[in-house]
Symmetry: C2
Subunit: 371 residues, 2 copies
């Protein structure tokens, strides 16, 4: 029986002189990671699954908190009898470094100045995020993970983990993700960053305690929302329905439901997310390329995990062909990889909403791994 | 023999009390249209082709001006022996109302106040743009057009013309376009508008003679550029190539060529385009729906033109399925319609760059229309 409520936990490490050495060569420390766990670690410590969140996600992947009873972002996937069955598995999710949900990021206090880091926070990479989480897993006394998994940026982290720490990971489930960020993915992030940085309230990243660059961040989020849905799902959900009007207004207020939706969602986002974190995390994504120092096939030469790769037909942000290229390179390395493309209209958001199809695949995949 | 240089021309009409009555019910006048012509009108006035430009285009469709020798935006398609052969046809292109390239728009002087219109300019629709151009065609003494044509927003105008003035148009070539703006198309424009309107320099549209809202307009343009290219063409053109660096910079300057490209193109755009015009024209596009008062089949009941409809496989902004729905409705009305989907990687921009394929289709289509 699980506790009725989950609680955020915190792990702090990397006090000088033991800072985390980042890929850039810069050092970061001390570092706090906010994390949550669901289920119980078994005696053999063989049932741990590490779940990674996406760009604007957090450590709250499942269950509800006692104060605000908001279900976690992957709650339909994690819990008793769910895909990641917490009666059987011990599931961990940590907020990434660079984030703003309890882990150390640009809004954290820079111990060197006693002020928020802002842009003095070092640029971090997916590799750095994963390295920080490795410290958490070590701290929890877990020597091997049954599975690492995530969708979108979560998938990049799971992939990177499988390459950096092949001995510590038995399997990886990579969902709606890629092995490198492509020109379009970089471009979409760059527009989002420009929107934030051209908001006068951004102030070179030094806005803490003052007005936040909410207008720029809202524009970033609107772009995000469009890329997370498919053209068909937007048309099915909104079409040309008007919002609170019987006919077109012939002015620049919102006429269409889709316009109001974008405003509502982006206003909401501005309340809960730090603009600088959006810059840092999007940059980490854009820097991601497992084949930067080799060819793609070579990049998998030390991988040892069993892989399940899931994509979605209508996901145009991380289209299936990108995962297929990765599968081909894995197979050339004789890795054990299953690839499934789920037919759905929900676009990139499918990893959050296409629960039934994913659950079946995940259950069957994990069920074949003896604890 | 054509003149070596083309010259912008201007037609002014709609002086009170003969203003153009807009779809909103508001009146606009006087109206100036900037236009250009290429080739010669024949004695029977039976060889005129009206070309419509896209969102940020202008009347300069072909040839070069004497002062700045910049070829027109469809120069590879319009000229002697080209698809729209100016040895045979008389080609006209006018800047839309609401624009900023010589036609009356929000930057024009409002005769009621002797100041620039700004947001006192009435919201115009594609129907209004077409109605204004009908006045130009009447003024030129042309009673029937051999063809109306355009890509993207130009296609919407050509389609609308064929429905509003069925007796005046013998054929229409609609390229990379749609019969209504869908939720995704509206959403992408709304983000662009929000980017402009949240720039403090926008000042409610009243920025003429002061700082222009260049940062917001630049963000709008970046979004535009991404939507005009395909994922594949961006990857082929830019991939993950670095710009002026040998390795990643680990800061928020531009690392990738695609980022520099977006900056270069958007900075350039800010010099040449009025932010308020972007608001007005994008709104006109979003309001477009030929089936707003009926079903789609019904919308074509008075159409009489011969249609050629061209789409591009990699155009995700105006995907082919939208044109196919239109073709189906046209066929249900027993209209003479040919539909071709050109296989290309160039995305929505294909109508500007896939010259060979389009030229062949256009030449053959026009060649079957006796003058």
């Amino acid at each position: 029986m699980n506790d009725p409520f989950v609680e955020p936990q915190y792990f702090t490490f990397g006090h000088p002189p033991d800072e985390l050495v980042l890929k850039s060569g810069l050092k970061l420390g001390p570092i706090t990671l906010a994390y949550e766990t669901y289920g119980q670690l078994n005696a053999a410590k063989s049932n741990a699954i590490l779940v990674f969140h996406a760009l604007t996600g957090d450590a709250h992947a499942a269950g509800v908190h006692q104060d605000v009873q908001n279900p976690g972002w992957w709650d339909p996937m994690i819990g008793p009898a769910k895909a990641f069955d917490t009666a059987r598995y011990f599931v961990i999710c940590a907020n990434v470094i660079g984030g703003c949900k309890g882990s150390t990021g640009p809004a954290s206090i820079n111990p060197a100045t006693n002020k928020p880091y802002g842009l003095s926070f070092p640029v971090v990479t997916i590799e750095d995020m994963v390295a920080a989480q490795k410290r958490l897993i070590d701290h929890l006394g877990i020597r091997q993970l049954l599975c690492v998994t995530g969708g979108s940026m979560g998938g990049l982290q799971a992939l990177k983990w499988s390459l950096l720490y092949p001995d510590t990971v038995r399997s990886a489930i990579l969902i709606a993700t890629n092995y490198r960020h492509t020109a379009q993915q970089i471009a979409l992030h760059e527009v989002a960053r420009q929107a934030i940085m051209s908001d006068p309230d951004w102030q070179g990243g030094d806005y803490y305690g003052k007005s936040v660059p909410g207008r720029g961040l809202a524009v970033s989020r609107m772009i995000g929302h469009i890329t997370y849905m498919s053209e068909r799902s937007m048309d099915e959900k909104f079409g040309r329905k008007l919002k609170g009007k019987e006919k077109l207004g012939y002015d620049f207020s919102h006429d269409f439901e889709v316009e109001s939706y974008l405003k509502y969602r982006s206003d909401n986002f501005v309340q809960r997310f730090d603009a600088n974190s959006y810059l840092y995390i999007s940059k980490a994504l854009d820097y991601f390329d497992i084949a930067e120092d080799s060819d793609l096939q070579q990049a998998f030469k030390n991988a040892a995990a069993k892989f399940l790769i899931i994509t979605f037909t209508s996901d145009w942000l991380y289209p299936s062909y990108q995962s297929k290229e990765m599968v081909k390179a894995m197979k050339a390395n004789h890795l054990d990889v299953s690839f499934i493309e789920i037919d759905t209209n929900y676009g990139h958001d499918s990893f959050l909403v296409e629960i039934e199809g994913q659950s079946k695949l995940v259950k069957s995949f994990l069920g074949n791994l003896p604890l």
